[in-house]
């Protein structure tokens, strides 16, 4: 057991899975010698060699397309998009192939690959290095979309993703890469994909978030509970698609109130889908409209302005207050 940040924890997952299973290979731009632009693949090349840790030419569709081929041939490729901002080049291969091979062949062909990609703001880099578009991937049936929020769950979910027989888009909140450390067990730990986590229980309001937004959310929740004496049920979504409706619905049925915190723009986000599901099965329990705290419906601002746009603890706090006091 040692304290590590998310970069190290993700790295640990790959190191260990590669040790266990020689069908796991890692590929992408600068994942080898350079060990990834965020050093997430540190040590892999040295340990497993060029055949298993592949510095590819600069071509995202090439990376995912060959990964699909590898997966069809029995390998378990873990490929990297350097930033999610460049991952839209792979949409046709995900939509057209990775997600469909199973259905297309009624289970005879499967595509067990993982696409890792850092997403979201907070690194003061250029355009395309800071947006949050998990929703786009969630529109594609047949791929799973996972977003961890802490070193420990990142490690345990990535292990699950690598072992998953289906394609998994694994989105890493780069803002949380080095933001904090957490105890991560040395021995294997696996979390189930498709399950949200109730981080702590509460009765007055449910709050749901995922990825980098968990941190400001926790901050706001702590403050809110402390100041008001109310209890908040905090849910970390973890898997964006397929979504864990059950955990959400049961919580909202209990609290009757819900706030959702999302880094992405307001329109067509995961929050909208959550609200639709609450509408389906818990509408009559609602004592207030579900409140969304999100980015705005603007083109992702360059980093000079981005902090004005992200949800922050103040906005989240106010949303809790408005929802409980509705």
């Amino acid at each position: 057991m040692s304290k590590m940040n998310m970069v190290q924890a993700i790295n640990l997952a790959m190191l260990q899975e590669m040790a266990k299973d020689d069908s796991v290979v890692v590929l992408g731009e600068d994942v080898g010698v350079d060990e990834g632009v965020f050093r997430v693949t540190a040590g892999l090349l040295k340990k497993y060699g060029e055949d298993r840790v592949i510095d590819t030419p600069l071509a995202e569709s090439g990376i995912i397309g060959t990964s699909i081929g590898m997966a069809l041939a029995g390998l378990k490729p873990v490929c990297e998009m350097q930033f999610s901002g460049f991952s839209y080049l792979i949409v046709h291969q995900l939509e057209g192939h990775a997600s469909r091979f199973r259905a297309r062949s009624q289970g005879d062909w499967t595509v067990p690959l993982v696409v890792r990609m850092p997403y979201g703001g907070g690194v003061r880099a250029m355009e395309h290095h800071s947006e949050s578009r998990e929703a786009l991937y969630a529109t594609i049936t047949g791929v799973k979309v996972v977003i961890p929020s802490t070193p420990r769950n990142a490690r345990a979910l990535l292990v699950a993703a690598i072992r998953d027989p289906d394609p998994v888009v694994f989105m890493e909140p780069k803002h949380s890469y080095r933001a904090f450390r957490e105890e991560v067990p040395d021995e294997e730990e696996v979390m189930e994909i498709g399950k949200a986590e109730i981080v702590h229980e509460g009765n007055d309001v449910t709050i749901i978030s995922w990825g980098a937004m968990m941190r400001p959310t926790i901050k706001a929740v702590d403050e809110y509970q402390e100041k008001t004496g109310k209890t908040v049920e905090l849910i970390d979504l973890l898997t964006i698609s397929p979504m864990d409706s059950k955990t959400i619905i049961e919580s909202v049925q209990k609290t009757g109130r819900c706030v959702i915190v999302q880094e992405a723009p307001k329109t067509m986000g995961i929050a909208s889908e959550i609200i639709a599901r609450i509408n389906d099965k818990a509408l009559m329990y609602l004592e207030a409209p579900v409140k969304r705290v999100t980015n705005y419906d603007v083109i992702t601002p360059y980093f000079g302005r981005e902090n004005y746009y992200f949800p922050n603890p103040e906005r989240i706090y106010q949303a809790l207050e408005a929802t409980v006091d509705f």
Partner: protein, 362 residues
């Protein structure tokens, strides 16, 4: 500009059997009579299945079909040269080659009638389903090639694409990755002169498709794609190179789409009858039949017997297909993921309940 030439490339063209069935003795490959007849049989089989599919479509008994009549030498012959463990990563215009690689006629009928059952993996063959997104499958081939190398499996990968497909970014990325990885992949481009209505010369300014290989530092060759012997020589060499660690090859098979793009297409809108007639004279089957006759291993009687046999085989398959009853509507819920999430199971139940109600079959 008076400067130093640093590199020199040539592109070659190969034809062994000319349009009149005359063979170039120097280039003629040594193929046994049995094998030659086998090549012919598979080409005829491809042609007959193709024609039947079109007829069935015209009668409304199946959906849209994309025929490959006229291109049999280009796709059937390379498929015949594959070893059992080689991979077939096709596009959508190699129905005949698919039969060679283990797909049944019934499967083809299911596919063209809109049932995923047509895509099930043939037993004992590494044959991927039809790929519709032009060019996209070439990348899968390269990934598979990488995996073969990694596993020390000596299988080669044969992937097909059209002349149109060479314009897609995915084709480029596939060729480039294959070059860098020296992946055991044969890229077989069926240049049939048209991409739906776009003639080859508007597809790209390059004189040949074969020369595109130069961009990736891999060998490329242009072959008379209506010449079964030239296809045999080129494909065999390329497949061997792949299996022996020599890396990828691009083969441009110059051929012609004698029929419509698909049964939904009207080629009269964009090309002349004259052009089609000109190419009919180069038909690979006619040409090859002449060759076999000249070798005295084929005659009219054998031809008739073969035709009868194949037609009967197709009749049986069509009947089998039309007798199929168990294509359950709800199967789509079963293959979204390896295990069914609660929500999808719930939707499946709802779906079944509804169907029971709608059909009065409560």
């Amino acid at each position: 500009m008076p400067i130093k030439e640093i590199e020199d490339f040539t592109i070659s063209y190969m034809q062994v059997l000319d349009e009149n069935g005359k063979v170039d003795k120097e280039l003629e490959p040594k193929i046994s009579a049995t094998e030659l007849i086998d090549m012919y049989r598979w080409m005829i089989r491809a042609r007959e299945v193709d024609q039947r599919l079109i007829n069935l479509q015209r009668q409304g008994r199946i959906g849209t079909v994309g025929p490959s009549t006229g291109q049999e030498a280009a796709h059937v012959i390379p498929a015949l040269l594959m070893k059992d463990n080689d991979w077939f990563v096709g596009a959508f215009r190699e129905a005949g080659a698919r039969l060679v690689r283990g797909e049944s006629i019934v499967q083809a009928l299911l596919f063209y009638n809109g049932f995923e059952e047509g895509n099930k993996k043939p037993e004992n063959y590494r044959t991927l389903p039809i790929s519709i997104i032009v060019g996209s499958q070439t990348l899968h081939a390269v990934g598979i090639g990488y995996a073969m190398k990694y596993r020390g499996d000596d299988a080669a990968v044969l992937t097909f694409m059209g002349d149109g497909a060479t314009s897609e970014g995915d084709f480029h990325e596939a060729m480039n990755f294959a070059g860098v990885w020296q992946a055991p992949v044969v890229f077989l481009c069926q240049n049939n002169q048209w991409a739906i209505s776009l003639p080859r010369h508007k597809q790209t300014k390059s004189e040949t498709i074969a020369q595109k290989a130069i961009a990736y530092g891999i060998p490329g060759i242009q072959v008379d794609g209506n010449d079964p012997l030239a296809m045999h020589v080129a494909a065999e060499e390329a497949l061997k190179r792949a299996r022996n660690g020599g890396g990828p090859t691009l083969i441009e098979a110059v051929t012609y789409r004698l029929m419509m793009h698909t049964t939904a297409d009207d080629p009269k809108k964009y090309r002349t009858e004259d052009e089609v007639e000109g190419w009919k004279k180069k038909d690979p089957i006619i040409r090859f039949k002449k060759y076999l006759a000249s070798k005295k291993i084929w005659d009219a009687k054998k031809e008739e017997a073969l035709q009868t046999e194949i037609k009967a085989e197709i009749d049986v398959a069509v009947k089998e297909f039309e007798d199929i009853k168990d294509l359950p509507p709800e199967i789509c819920f079963d293959h979204v993921f390896s295990t069914k999430p609660d929500d999808i199971e719930e939707q499946r139940q709802e779906f079944l309940d509804r169907l029971r109600k709608e059909t009065g079959n409560v």
